[in-house]
Subunit: 281 residues, 2 copies
Protein backbone atom coordinates (compact mmCIF):
# COMPACT_ATOMS: atom_id res chain seq x y z
CA UNK A 1 0.00 0.00 0.00
CA UNK A 2 1.38 3.35 -1.06
CA UNK A 3 0.74 6.55 0.88
CA UNK A 4 0.74 9.69 -1.28
CA UNK A 5 0.56 13.18 0.12
CA UNK A 6 0.86 15.47 -2.91
CA UNK A 7 -1.58 16.27 -5.68
CA UNK A 8 0.97 15.80 -8.46
CA UNK A 9 2.06 12.32 -7.37
CA UNK A 10 -1.52 11.15 -7.01
CA UNK A 11 -2.42 12.37 -10.49
CA UNK A 12 0.65 10.66 -11.90
CA UNK A 13 -0.37 7.36 -10.29
CA UNK A 14 -3.94 7.75 -11.55
CA UNK A 15 -2.75 8.57 -15.08
CA UNK A 16 -0.50 5.51 -15.06
CA UNK A 17 -3.32 3.22 -13.98
CA UNK A 18 -5.66 4.67 -16.57
CA UNK A 19 -3.11 4.17 -19.33
CA UNK A 20 -2.83 0.53 -18.21
CA UNK A 21 -6.60 0.21 -18.48
CA UNK A 22 -7.17 -0.22 -14.72
CA UNK A 23 -10.51 0.70 -13.21
CA UNK A 24 -9.98 3.07 -10.29
CA UNK A 25 -12.32 2.90 -7.29
CA UNK A 26 -12.32 5.71 -4.75
CA UNK A 27 -13.56 6.23 -1.21
CA UNK A 28 -13.15 9.76 0.17
CA UNK A 29 -13.00 9.84 3.98
CA UNK A 30 -12.06 12.15 6.82
CA UNK A 31 -10.25 9.24 8.48
CA UNK A 32 -10.78 7.81 11.98
CA UNK A 33 -12.14 4.82 10.16
CA UNK A 34 -14.93 2.59 11.38
CA UNK A 35 -16.72 -0.42 9.99
CA UNK A 36 -18.87 1.85 7.80
CA UNK A 37 -15.82 3.16 5.98
CA UNK A 38 -14.43 -0.35 5.62
CA UNK A 39 -17.67 -1.47 4.00
CA UNK A 40 -17.32 1.33 1.44
CA UNK A 41 -13.78 0.18 0.69
CA UNK A 42 -14.84 -3.43 0.22
CA UNK A 43 -17.56 -2.21 -2.12
CA UNK A 44 -15.04 -0.11 -4.08
CA UNK A 45 -12.72 -3.11 -4.29
CA UNK A 46 -15.43 -5.24 -5.83
CA UNK A 47 -16.12 -2.63 -8.48
CA UNK A 48 -12.56 -1.75 -9.50
CA UNK A 49 -8.98 -2.95 -10.05
CA UNK A 50 -7.27 -0.35 -7.88
CA UNK A 51 -8.68 1.27 -4.75
CA UNK A 52 -7.72 4.74 -3.54
CA UNK A 53 -8.89 6.04 -0.17
CA UNK A 54 -8.38 9.67 0.73
CA UNK A 55 -7.95 10.69 4.35
CA UNK A 56 -8.48 14.42 4.67
CA UNK A 57 -10.32 16.35 7.37
CA UNK A 58 -11.60 19.07 5.08
CA UNK A 59 -11.66 22.44 6.82
CA UNK A 60 -14.00 24.11 4.31
CA UNK A 61 -16.92 21.85 5.22
CA UNK A 62 -16.79 22.84 8.90
CA UNK A 63 -18.47 26.05 10.02
CA UNK A 64 -17.14 28.44 12.67
CA UNK A 65 -17.62 26.86 16.08
CA UNK A 66 -17.93 23.35 14.65
CA UNK A 67 -15.60 20.49 15.51
CA UNK A 68 -12.85 20.83 12.89
CA UNK A 69 -10.11 21.18 15.49
CA UNK A 70 -11.24 18.34 17.72
CA UNK A 71 -12.45 16.02 14.95
CA UNK A 72 -10.86 12.66 15.84
CA UNK A 73 -7.72 11.73 13.89
CA UNK A 74 -5.55 8.61 13.99
CA UNK A 75 -3.75 8.10 10.69
CA UNK A 76 -1.52 5.28 11.94
CA UNK A 77 -4.47 3.20 13.02
CA UNK A 78 -6.28 4.06 9.76
CA UNK A 79 -3.28 2.95 7.67
CA UNK A 80 -3.22 -0.42 9.43
CA UNK A 81 -6.89 -1.00 8.73
CA UNK A 82 -6.58 0.00 5.07
CA UNK A 83 -3.47 -2.12 4.53
CA UNK A 84 -5.23 -5.18 5.87
CA UNK A 85 -8.15 -4.49 3.54
CA UNK A 86 -5.94 -4.36 0.46
CA UNK A 87 -6.29 -0.66 -0.33
CA UNK A 88 -3.76 0.24 -3.05
CA UNK A 89 -3.17 3.91 -2.38
CA UNK A 90 -3.99 6.19 0.55
CA UNK A 91 -4.10 9.83 -0.47
CA UNK A 92 -3.52 11.93 2.64
CA UNK A 93 -2.69 15.50 1.65
CA UNK A 94 -2.05 18.40 4.00
CA UNK A 95 -4.49 21.29 4.28
CA UNK A 96 -1.82 23.53 2.70
CA UNK A 97 -1.54 21.16 -0.26
CA UNK A 98 -5.30 21.15 -0.87
CA UNK A 99 -5.92 24.84 -0.10
CA UNK A 100 -2.75 26.77 -0.93
CA UNK A 101 -2.44 30.53 -0.45
CA UNK A 102 -4.81 32.35 -2.82
CA UNK A 103 -7.33 29.50 -3.14
CA UNK A 104 -10.64 31.04 -4.25
CA UNK A 105 -12.65 28.52 -6.28
CA UNK A 106 -15.77 26.74 -5.08
CA UNK A 107 -18.26 24.27 -6.49
CA UNK A 108 -21.80 24.80 -5.29
CA UNK A 109 -24.98 22.78 -5.73
CA UNK A 110 -28.04 24.90 -5.03
CA UNK A 111 -31.55 23.53 -4.40
CA UNK A 112 -30.72 20.12 -2.96
CA UNK A 113 -28.30 21.63 -0.41
CA UNK A 114 -30.75 24.18 0.96
CA UNK A 115 -32.76 22.23 3.57
CA UNK A 116 -31.69 19.92 6.42
CA UNK A 117 -27.93 20.01 7.07
CA UNK A 118 -27.57 22.73 4.43
CA UNK A 119 -29.85 25.01 6.44
CA UNK A 120 -28.24 24.14 9.77
CA UNK A 121 -24.63 24.22 8.57
CA UNK A 122 -24.23 27.16 6.13
CA UNK A 123 -21.36 26.58 3.73
CA UNK A 124 -21.03 22.91 4.68
CA UNK A 125 -22.05 21.47 1.32
CA UNK A 126 -20.08 24.04 -0.62
CA UNK A 127 -17.05 22.71 1.23
CA UNK A 128 -18.04 19.13 0.50
CA UNK A 129 -18.66 19.60 -3.23
CA UNK A 130 -15.51 21.67 -3.65
CA UNK A 131 -13.28 19.11 -2.00
CA UNK A 132 -14.95 16.14 -3.69
CA UNK A 133 -14.67 17.80 -7.12
CA UNK A 134 -11.00 18.47 -6.44
CA UNK A 135 -10.41 14.93 -5.18
CA UNK A 136 -12.07 13.57 -8.32
CA UNK A 137 -9.69 15.64 -10.44
CA UNK A 138 -6.75 14.30 -8.45
CA UNK A 139 -7.68 10.62 -8.04
CA UNK A 140 -9.46 10.31 -11.43
CA UNK A 141 -11.75 7.49 -10.29
CA UNK A 142 -14.09 5.52 -12.51
CA UNK A 143 -16.29 4.78 -9.51
CA UNK A 144 -16.62 6.42 -6.10
CA UNK A 145 -18.48 5.04 -3.10
CA UNK A 146 -20.33 7.15 -0.53
CA UNK A 147 -22.31 6.10 2.53
CA UNK A 148 -26.06 6.61 2.65
CA UNK A 149 -25.85 7.88 6.23
CA UNK A 150 -24.90 11.23 4.74
CA UNK A 151 -27.98 11.06 2.55
CA UNK A 152 -28.10 14.73 1.56
CA UNK A 153 -24.39 14.61 0.77
CA UNK A 154 -24.91 11.61 -1.49
CA UNK A 155 -27.74 13.35 -3.38
CA UNK A 156 -25.62 16.49 -3.65
CA UNK A 157 -22.63 14.60 -5.05
CA UNK A 158 -24.86 12.78 -7.53
CA UNK A 159 -26.31 16.11 -8.63
CA UNK A 160 -22.87 17.70 -9.02
CA UNK A 161 -21.55 14.77 -11.01
CA UNK A 162 -24.55 14.81 -13.33
CA UNK A 163 -24.68 18.60 -13.74
CA UNK A 164 -20.96 18.99 -14.43
CA UNK A 165 -20.73 15.78 -16.50
CA UNK A 166 -18.04 14.29 -14.30
CA UNK A 167 -17.31 10.87 -15.75
CA UNK A 168 -17.52 9.06 -12.40
CA UNK A 169 -20.03 6.42 -11.32
CA UNK A 170 -21.39 7.29 -7.88
CA UNK A 171 -22.34 4.31 -5.72
CA UNK A 172 -24.33 4.69 -2.53
CA UNK A 173 -23.72 2.14 0.21
CA UNK A 174 -26.35 1.25 2.83
CA UNK A 175 -25.83 2.58 6.34
CA UNK A 176 -23.69 0.32 8.50
CA UNK A 177 -24.96 0.11 12.08
CA UNK A 178 -23.76 -1.00 15.49
CA UNK A 179 -25.56 -4.10 16.89
CA UNK A 180 -28.02 -1.85 18.76
CA UNK A 181 -28.85 0.15 15.62
CA UNK A 182 -26.67 3.25 16.05
CA UNK A 183 -25.35 4.35 12.67
CA UNK A 184 -21.55 4.11 12.54
CA UNK A 185 -19.88 7.53 12.70
CA UNK A 186 -16.46 8.85 13.62
CA UNK A 187 -18.31 11.32 15.84
CA UNK A 188 -19.74 8.52 18.02
CA UNK A 189 -16.44 8.73 19.91
CA UNK A 190 -17.69 12.02 21.42
CA UNK A 191 -20.47 10.16 23.30
CA UNK A 192 -20.27 9.43 27.03
CA UNK A 193 -21.46 5.97 28.04
CA UNK A 194 -24.85 7.38 29.02
CA UNK A 195 -25.17 9.41 25.81
CA UNK A 196 -24.13 6.35 23.83
CA UNK A 197 -27.17 4.53 25.22
CA UNK A 198 -29.50 7.38 24.34
CA UNK A 199 -28.00 7.64 20.85
CA UNK A 200 -29.72 4.45 19.75
CA UNK A 201 -33.01 6.35 19.98
CA UNK A 202 -32.21 7.87 16.54
CA UNK A 203 -32.39 4.52 14.77
CA UNK A 204 -35.34 3.51 16.97
CA UNK A 205 -37.20 6.65 15.88
CA UNK A 206 -36.63 5.71 12.25
CA UNK A 207 -37.68 2.14 12.90
CA UNK A 208 -40.91 3.35 14.54
CA UNK A 209 -41.69 5.52 11.49
CA UNK A 210 -41.00 2.60 9.15
CA UNK A 211 -43.30 0.41 11.25
CA UNK A 212 -46.08 3.01 10.98
CA UNK A 213 -45.64 3.17 7.20
CA UNK A 214 -45.94 -0.59 6.99
CA UNK A 215 -49.10 -0.32 9.09
CA UNK A 216 -50.52 2.09 6.49
CA UNK A 217 -49.67 5.53 7.83
CA UNK A 218 -49.00 8.02 5.01
CA UNK A 219 -49.32 11.34 6.80
CA UNK A 220 -45.97 13.10 6.99
CA UNK A 221 -46.66 14.95 10.24
CA UNK A 222 -47.75 11.73 11.94
CA UNK A 223 -44.55 9.99 10.90
CA UNK A 224 -42.35 12.89 12.00
CA UNK A 225 -44.24 13.23 15.30
CA UNK A 226 -43.78 9.57 16.07
CA UNK A 227 -40.05 9.89 15.45
CA UNK A 228 -39.81 13.02 17.58
CA UNK A 229 -41.67 11.30 20.41
CA UNK A 230 -39.04 8.55 20.50
CA UNK A 231 -36.19 11.04 20.46
CA UNK A 232 -37.82 12.95 23.32
CA UNK A 233 -37.12 9.93 25.54
CA UNK A 234 -33.44 10.91 25.60
CA UNK A 235 -32.78 13.62 28.22
CA UNK A 236 -29.44 14.51 26.54
CA UNK A 237 -30.97 14.66 23.06
CA UNK A 238 -31.70 17.98 21.37
CA UNK A 239 -33.31 17.63 17.95
CA UNK A 240 -31.64 19.74 15.23
CA UNK A 241 -34.14 18.66 12.60
CA UNK A 242 -36.54 15.79 11.94
CA UNK A 243 -38.21 16.01 8.56
CA UNK A 244 -39.82 13.94 5.85
CA UNK A 245 -38.67 15.02 2.40
CA UNK A 246 -38.82 13.81 -1.18
CA UNK A 247 -36.14 11.13 -1.51
CA UNK A 248 -34.84 12.55 -4.81
CA UNK A 249 -35.20 16.33 -4.60
CA UNK A 250 -35.42 16.83 -0.82
CA UNK A 251 -38.49 18.99 -1.40
CA UNK A 252 -41.04 19.07 1.42
CA UNK A 253 -43.72 16.41 1.30
CA UNK A 254 -46.93 16.42 3.29
CA UNK A 255 -47.87 12.84 2.56
CA UNK A 256 -45.81 9.81 1.70
CA UNK A 257 -47.23 9.46 -1.82
CA UNK A 258 -43.80 8.82 -3.36
CA UNK A 259 -40.45 7.68 -1.94
CA UNK A 260 -39.48 9.89 0.97
CA UNK A 261 -36.56 10.17 3.31
CA UNK A 262 -37.05 10.66 7.01
CA UNK A 263 -33.96 12.64 7.96
CA UNK A 264 -32.83 13.20 11.54
CA UNK A 265 -30.11 15.35 13.05
CA UNK A 266 -29.75 15.57 16.79
CA UNK A 267 -27.25 16.65 19.34
CA UNK A 268 -26.60 13.91 21.87
CA UNK A 269 -24.59 15.81 24.44
CA UNK A 270 -21.92 17.57 22.39
CA UNK A 271 -22.08 15.17 19.45
CA UNK A 272 -24.22 16.10 16.47
CA UNK A 273 -25.41 12.84 14.94
CA UNK A 274 -27.43 12.23 11.77
CA UNK A 275 -29.41 9.25 10.54
CA UNK A 276 -32.10 8.61 7.98
CA UNK A 277 -34.43 6.04 6.49
CA UNK A 278 -35.89 5.97 3.00
CA UNK A 279 -39.60 5.27 3.25
CA UNK A 280 -41.52 3.70 0.36
CA UNK A 281 -45.25 4.49 0.09
CA UNK B 1 -14.07 15.94 -39.09
CA UNK B 2 -16.71 14.55 -36.78
CA UNK B 3 -19.51 16.66 -35.33
CA UNK B 4 -20.74 15.45 -31.93
CA UNK B 5 -23.74 16.91 -30.16
CA UNK B 6 -24.15 14.80 -27.03
CA UNK B 7 -22.12 14.65 -23.84
CA UNK B 8 -21.94 10.86 -23.79
CA UNK B 9 -20.56 10.50 -27.33
CA UNK B 10 -17.95 13.17 -26.73
CA UNK B 11 -16.75 11.49 -23.54
CA UNK B 12 -16.58 8.16 -25.35
CA UNK B 13 -14.43 9.69 -28.09
CA UNK B 14 -12.18 11.38 -25.51
CA UNK B 15 -11.81 8.14 -23.53
CA UNK B 16 -10.89 6.25 -26.70
CA UNK B 17 -8.21 8.79 -27.63
CA UNK B 18 -6.80 8.77 -24.14
CA UNK B 19 -6.57 4.98 -24.10
CA UNK B 20 -4.67 5.22 -27.40
CA UNK B 21 -2.27 7.67 -25.76
CA UNK B 22 -3.35 10.65 -27.89
CA UNK B 23 -2.88 14.18 -26.55
CA UNK B 24 -6.16 16.08 -26.75
CA UNK B 25 -6.12 19.81 -27.48
CA UNK B 26 -9.24 21.86 -26.91
CA UNK B 27 -10.54 25.27 -27.94
CA UNK B 28 -13.88 26.28 -26.40
CA UNK B 29 -15.73 28.86 -28.52
CA UNK B 30 -19.15 30.41 -28.89
CA UNK B 31 -18.84 30.04 -32.68
CA UNK B 32 -19.13 32.71 -35.36
CA UNK B 33 -15.45 32.11 -35.84
CA UNK B 34 -12.91 34.72 -36.81
CA UNK B 35 -9.17 34.70 -37.35
CA UNK B 36 -8.61 34.94 -33.59
CA UNK B 37 -10.38 31.62 -33.04
CA UNK B 38 -8.50 30.03 -35.92
CA UNK B 39 -5.20 31.09 -34.36
CA UNK B 40 -6.24 29.31 -31.13
CA UNK B 41 -7.00 26.17 -33.14
CA UNK B 42 -3.65 26.24 -34.92
CA UNK B 43 -1.99 26.65 -31.55
CA UNK B 44 -3.96 23.69 -30.12
CA UNK B 45 -3.01 21.61 -33.16
CA UNK B 46 0.67 22.24 -32.58
CA UNK B 47 0.39 21.13 -28.97
CA UNK B 48 -1.70 18.00 -29.40
CA UNK B 49 -2.55 14.97 -31.55
CA UNK B 50 -6.29 15.52 -31.70
CA UNK B 51 -8.09 18.86 -31.65
CA UNK B 52 -11.61 19.36 -30.32
CA UNK B 53 -13.42 22.68 -30.75
CA UNK B 54 -16.66 23.31 -28.92
CA UNK B 55 -19.25 25.64 -30.41
CA UNK B 56 -21.75 26.61 -27.73
CA UNK B 57 -23.33 29.97 -27.04
CA UNK B 58 -23.50 29.55 -23.30
CA UNK B 59 -26.64 31.14 -21.85
CA UNK B 60 -25.41 31.19 -18.23
CA UNK B 61 -22.64 33.68 -19.00
CA UNK B 62 -25.08 36.26 -20.40
CA UNK B 63 -26.93 38.55 -18.04
CA UNK B 64 -30.55 39.70 -18.41
CA UNK B 65 -30.71 42.29 -21.19
CA UNK B 66 -27.42 41.14 -22.70
CA UNK B 67 -27.04 39.83 -26.24
CA UNK B 68 -27.60 36.07 -25.79
CA UNK B 69 -30.52 35.98 -28.23
CA UNK B 70 -28.91 38.05 -30.95
CA UNK B 71 -25.36 36.77 -30.48
CA UNK B 72 -24.24 35.95 -34.05
CA UNK B 73 -24.42 32.29 -35.06
CA UNK B 74 -23.44 30.50 -38.28
CA UNK B 75 -22.57 26.88 -37.62
CA UNK B 76 -22.36 25.89 -41.30
CA UNK B 77 -19.75 28.52 -42.02
CA UNK B 78 -17.91 27.61 -38.79
CA UNK B 79 -17.83 23.93 -39.77
CA UNK B 80 -16.29 24.78 -43.13
CA UNK B 81 -13.54 26.83 -41.49
CA UNK B 82 -12.78 24.14 -38.92
CA UNK B 83 -12.72 21.36 -41.49
CA UNK B 84 -10.20 23.25 -43.59
CA UNK B 85 -8.05 23.75 -40.50
CA UNK B 86 -7.96 20.05 -39.71
CA UNK B 87 -10.02 20.10 -36.53
CA UNK B 88 -10.81 16.49 -35.54
CA UNK B 89 -14.04 16.89 -33.59
CA UNK B 90 -16.52 19.74 -33.25
CA UNK B 91 -18.57 19.46 -30.08
CA UNK B 92 -21.77 21.43 -30.60
CA UNK B 93 -24.30 20.49 -27.92
CA UNK B 94 -27.74 21.99 -27.47
CA UNK B 95 -28.59 24.18 -24.49
CA UNK B 96 -30.91 21.39 -23.27
CA UNK B 97 -28.06 18.89 -23.42
CA UNK B 98 -25.72 21.12 -21.39
CA UNK B 99 -28.34 22.45 -18.95
CA UNK B 100 -31.05 19.84 -18.57
CA UNK B 101 -34.09 20.29 -16.34
CA UNK B 102 -33.01 20.51 -12.70
CA UNK B 103 -29.50 21.77 -13.38
CA UNK B 104 -28.27 23.47 -10.19
CA UNK B 105 -24.47 23.23 -9.92
CA UNK B 106 -22.05 26.12 -10.41
CA UNK B 107 -18.32 26.64 -10.24
CA UNK B 108 -17.31 30.01 -8.94
CA UNK B 109 -13.95 31.78 -8.68
CA UNK B 110 -14.09 34.63 -6.19
CA UNK B 111 -11.50 37.43 -5.92
CA UNK B 112 -10.21 37.53 -9.47
CA UNK B 113 -13.74 37.74 -10.93
CA UNK B 114 -14.84 40.70 -8.78
CA UNK B 115 -13.53 43.76 -10.69
CA UNK B 116 -13.78 44.77 -14.36
CA UNK B 117 -16.19 42.57 -16.35
CA UNK B 118 -17.10 40.74 -13.16
CA UNK B 119 -18.39 43.98 -11.63
CA UNK B 120 -20.15 45.06 -14.81
CA UNK B 121 -21.63 41.70 -15.71
CA UNK B 122 -22.81 39.99 -12.49
CA UNK B 123 -22.87 36.21 -12.88
CA UNK B 124 -20.89 36.30 -16.12
CA UNK B 125 -17.80 34.53 -14.82
CA UNK B 126 -19.84 32.02 -12.83
CA UNK B 127 -21.36 31.05 -16.17
CA UNK B 128 -17.95 30.89 -17.81
CA UNK B 129 -16.28 28.77 -15.15
CA UNK B 130 -19.27 26.45 -14.88
CA UNK B 131 -19.41 25.76 -18.61
CA UNK B 132 -15.64 25.47 -18.99
CA UNK B 133 -15.43 23.04 -16.06
CA UNK B 134 -18.22 20.99 -17.62
CA UNK B 135 -16.60 21.11 -21.07
CA UNK B 136 -13.32 19.95 -19.54
CA UNK B 137 -15.12 16.97 -17.98
CA UNK B 138 -16.67 16.16 -21.36
CA UNK B 139 -13.75 16.76 -23.74
CA UNK B 140 -11.03 15.61 -21.29
CA UNK B 141 -8.32 17.75 -22.85
CA UNK B 142 -4.63 17.66 -21.96
CA UNK B 143 -4.27 21.24 -23.15
CA UNK B 144 -6.80 24.03 -23.72
CA UNK B 145 -6.16 27.30 -25.51
CA UNK B 146 -7.80 30.62 -24.60
CA UNK B 147 -7.37 34.06 -26.13
CA UNK B 148 -5.75 36.86 -24.15
CA UNK B 149 -8.36 39.35 -25.34
CA UNK B 150 -10.57 37.94 -22.58
CA UNK B 151 -7.80 38.57 -20.11
CA UNK B 152 -9.87 38.31 -16.93
CA UNK B 153 -11.44 35.13 -18.25
CA UNK B 154 -8.02 33.62 -18.88
CA UNK B 155 -6.85 34.47 -15.35
CA UNK B 156 -10.11 33.08 -13.95
CA UNK B 157 -9.76 29.80 -15.84
CA UNK B 158 -6.14 29.46 -14.75
CA UNK B 159 -7.21 30.03 -11.16
CA UNK B 160 -10.04 27.48 -11.39
CA UNK B 161 -7.78 24.86 -12.93
CA UNK B 162 -5.13 25.37 -10.27
CA UNK B 163 -7.54 25.55 -7.33
CA UNK B 164 -9.53 22.46 -8.35
CA UNK B 165 -6.45 20.54 -9.57
CA UNK B 166 -7.87 20.04 -13.03
CA UNK B 167 -5.20 18.18 -14.96
CA UNK B 168 -5.32 20.50 -17.98
CA UNK B 169 -2.57 22.78 -19.29
CA UNK B 170 -3.99 26.25 -19.98
CA UNK B 171 -2.36 28.12 -22.82
CA UNK B 172 -3.00 31.82 -23.42
CA UNK B 173 -2.74 33.06 -27.00
CA UNK B 174 -1.88 36.68 -27.87
CA UNK B 175 -4.69 38.90 -29.12
CA UNK B 176 -5.24 38.67 -32.87
CA UNK B 177 -6.01 42.07 -34.41
CA UNK B 178 -7.41 43.49 -37.63
CA UNK B 179 -4.88 45.43 -39.74
CA UNK B 180 -5.97 48.70 -38.10
CA UNK B 181 -5.50 47.29 -34.60
CA UNK B 182 -9.08 46.35 -33.63
CA UNK B 183 -9.07 43.14 -31.58
CA UNK B 184 -10.90 40.36 -33.40
CA UNK B 185 -14.29 39.62 -31.84
CA UNK B 186 -17.50 38.00 -32.99
CA UNK B 187 -19.24 41.09 -31.64
CA UNK B 188 -17.47 43.36 -34.15
CA UNK B 189 -20.27 42.35 -36.54
CA UNK B 190 -22.58 44.61 -34.50
CA UNK B 191 -20.62 47.72 -35.58
CA UNK B 192 -21.92 50.12 -38.25
CA UNK B 193 -19.25 51.35 -40.71
CA UNK B 194 -18.84 54.55 -38.73
CA UNK B 195 -18.67 52.72 -35.39
CA UNK B 196 -16.16 50.31 -36.91
CA UNK B 197 -13.85 53.26 -37.58
CA UNK B 198 -14.22 54.56 -34.03
CA UNK B 199 -13.63 51.07 -32.59
CA UNK B 200 -9.97 51.20 -33.47
CA UNK B 201 -9.61 53.87 -30.77
CA UNK B 202 -9.56 51.07 -28.18
CA UNK B 203 -6.29 49.63 -29.46
CA UNK B 204 -4.98 53.15 -30.05
CA UNK B 205 -5.69 54.01 -26.43
CA UNK B 206 -3.69 50.97 -25.33
CA UNK B 207 -0.88 51.83 -27.71
CA UNK B 208 -0.72 55.36 -26.31
CA UNK B 209 -0.46 54.01 -22.76
CA UNK B 210 2.30 51.60 -23.81
CA UNK B 211 4.13 54.47 -25.49
CA UNK B 212 3.95 56.50 -22.26
CA UNK B 213 5.29 53.57 -20.25
CA UNK B 214 8.21 53.26 -22.63
CA UNK B 215 8.79 56.99 -22.17
CA UNK B 216 9.05 56.41 -18.42
CA UNK B 217 5.53 57.09 -17.13
CA UNK B 218 4.68 54.89 -14.13
CA UNK B 219 1.70 56.70 -12.64
CA UNK B 220 -1.46 54.62 -13.04
CA UNK B 221 -3.85 57.57 -13.21
CA UNK B 222 -1.75 59.21 -15.91
CA UNK B 223 -1.80 56.04 -18.01
CA UNK B 224 -5.54 55.54 -17.58
CA UNK B 225 -6.25 59.24 -18.30
CA UNK B 226 -4.26 59.07 -21.50
CA UNK B 227 -6.23 56.05 -22.63
CA UNK B 228 -9.53 57.68 -21.71
CA UNK B 229 -8.58 60.79 -23.66
CA UNK B 230 -8.10 58.74 -26.81
CA UNK B 231 -11.41 56.93 -26.32
CA UNK B 232 -13.16 60.28 -25.83
CA UNK B 233 -12.41 61.04 -29.47
CA UNK B 234 -15.13 58.56 -30.50
CA UNK B 235 -18.59 60.21 -30.33
CA UNK B 236 -20.27 56.76 -30.29
CA UNK B 237 -17.97 55.42 -27.58
CA UNK B 238 -19.15 55.05 -23.98
CA UNK B 239 -16.48 53.76 -21.62
CA UNK B 240 -17.65 50.89 -19.39
CA UNK B 241 -14.34 50.71 -17.55
CA UNK B 242 -10.72 51.68 -18.11
CA UNK B 243 -8.43 50.50 -15.34
CA UNK B 244 -4.88 49.55 -14.58
CA UNK B 245 -4.69 46.43 -12.44
CA UNK B 246 -2.14 43.91 -11.24
CA UNK B 247 -1.58 41.52 -14.15
CA UNK B 248 -1.79 38.44 -11.92
CA UNK B 249 -4.33 39.19 -9.20
CA UNK B 250 -6.28 42.05 -10.86
CA UNK B 251 -5.87 44.02 -7.65
CA UNK B 252 -5.81 47.80 -8.02
CA UNK B 253 -2.43 49.36 -8.58
CA UNK B 254 -1.60 53.04 -8.23
CA UNK B 255 1.78 52.84 -9.91
CA UNK B 256 3.18 50.48 -12.49
CA UNK B 257 5.80 49.00 -10.15
CA UNK B 258 5.10 45.43 -11.32
CA UNK B 259 3.41 43.94 -14.39
CA UNK B 260 -0.01 45.50 -14.87
CA UNK B 261 -2.85 45.09 -17.29
CA UNK B 262 -4.60 48.10 -18.77
CA UNK B 263 -8.10 46.77 -19.30
CA UNK B 264 -10.73 48.53 -21.39
CA UNK B 265 -14.40 47.86 -21.95
CA UNK B 266 -16.46 50.26 -24.01
CA UNK B 267 -19.74 50.38 -25.81
CA UNK B 268 -19.28 51.42 -29.40
CA UNK B 269 -22.87 52.00 -30.43
CA UNK B 270 -24.65 48.83 -29.24
CA UNK B 271 -21.54 46.66 -29.22
CA UNK B 272 -19.69 46.17 -25.97
CA UNK B 273 -16.02 45.62 -26.86
CA UNK B 274 -13.08 44.77 -24.63
CA UNK B 275 -9.36 45.01 -25.14
CA UNK B 276 -6.27 45.07 -22.97
CA UNK B 277 -2.52 45.41 -22.89
CA UNK B 278 -0.09 44.01 -20.36
CA UNK B 279 2.32 46.74 -19.33
CA UNK B 280 5.77 45.92 -17.95
CA UNK B 281 7.34 48.46 -15.57
Amino acid sequence: MRVIDTVGEMQQQANLWRREGRVIGFVPTMGYLHEGHLALMRCAKEKSDRVVVSVFVNPTQFGPGEDFERYPRDLDRDLGLMASLGVDVVFAPSVENMYPQGFQTYVEVLEVTRPLCGAKRPGHFRGVTTVVAKLFHIVKPHVAVFGEKDYQQLLTIRRMVQDLAMDVEIVGHPIVREPDGLAMSSRNVYLSPDERKQARLLSQALAEASRLVEAGERDGSALVSAARKILAQGPSIRIDYAELRDAETLEKMGALDRPGVLALAAYVGQARLIDNAVLQP
